[in-house]
């Protein structure tokens, strides 16, 4: 599987979690263009609800959200037998990830990153990275 269109076609469903409407809209534009099925949530609680109901190929997850943040979602997946226990997380963030922070995030099974503001090319590159290791 090498071409971009093959990779996109192989995606069944994605969960996008971000409390910022602007980022959710941007993601929806790209995913609509790709004709990829996606669910959108604004906080960790909504995300957990979706994660118990559908199987996702991966989760685009914002780190800092009020109420229930990205770590809350990652921790939920680690601690519960769900449909998505092994679903890769693409952490979507502004924050620079140094080695210590990378190790911290690995503890929550977060291995992949997408830096904001993202575009179609960046998202595709991150997805290719996820699929390479699947």
């Amino acid at each position: 599987m090498s071409s971009d269109s093959e990779i996109i076609k192989a995606i069944n469903r994605i969960l996008v979690v971000d409390d910022d409407t602007y980022n959710l809209l941007l993601a929806s534009k790209i995913l609509d263009k790709w004709k990829v099925k996606a669910d959108y949530c604004k906080n960790g609680f909504e995300a957990v609800q979706n994660l118990t109901e559908h199987i996702y190929d991966f989760i685009i997850l914002d780190l800092q959200m009020p109420e229930a943040n990205g770590i809350f979602v990652a921790q939920y997946l680690q601690n519960n037998q769900t449909l998505n226990k092994h679903t890769p997380i693409l952490l979507c963030t502004n924050v620079k990830i140094d080695d210590d922070y990378r190790d911290f995030l690995k503890g929550y099974a977060i291995f992949y990153y997408l830096f904001k503001p993202f575009n179609e090319e960046k998202l595709l590159a991150s997805i290719k990275n996820v699929f390479k290791h699947k």
Binding site: Y22, N23, L26, K29, P117
Partner: protein, 117 residues
């Protein structure tokens, strides 16, 4: 449309695949969400809440970077550090005035763009 001293729609236009309707939706969302954030930032400063100042500025960063608001991005990055440690309230107030002034100008220009297109 762009003003080289304030912002550019180039990246946003590319991200929306030149879909004008969607571009306008993104612009309206940019204005709405950041107007709200600026109001919240003002209150956070009045309440000397460094962590909340940091969180709001962190959140504002991605959309301001998307529009390449060059005057404001470094300020947001600096204030976002308040999440991790207490900052300087005088500095925060001074920076807030810049964020507010520049953003007001940009919102006004973007609203004009929406009306004209």
């Amino acid at each position: 449309m762009s003003n080289k001293y304030y912002y550019s729609l180039e990246l946003l236009r590319k991200s929306t695949s030149n879909d004008e309707d969607f571009l306008q939706l993104m612009i309206k969302t940019f204005i709405e969400t950041n107007r709200k954030s600026i109001d919240e930032l003002k209150v956070a400063i009045e309440n000397n809440n460094f962590k909340l100042i940091g969180e709001i500025c962190h959140k504002m960063q991605s959309s301001y970077k998307h529009l390449n608001v060059s005057f404001v991005i470094p300020i947001l990055e600096e204030l976002a550090q308040y999440i991790y440690s207490d900052g300087n309230m005088e500095e925060a107030t001074s920076y807030f005035n810049i964020i507010d002034d520049v953003s007001t100008h940009i919102f006004s220009e973007l609203n004009t763009y929406i009306k004209q297109n």
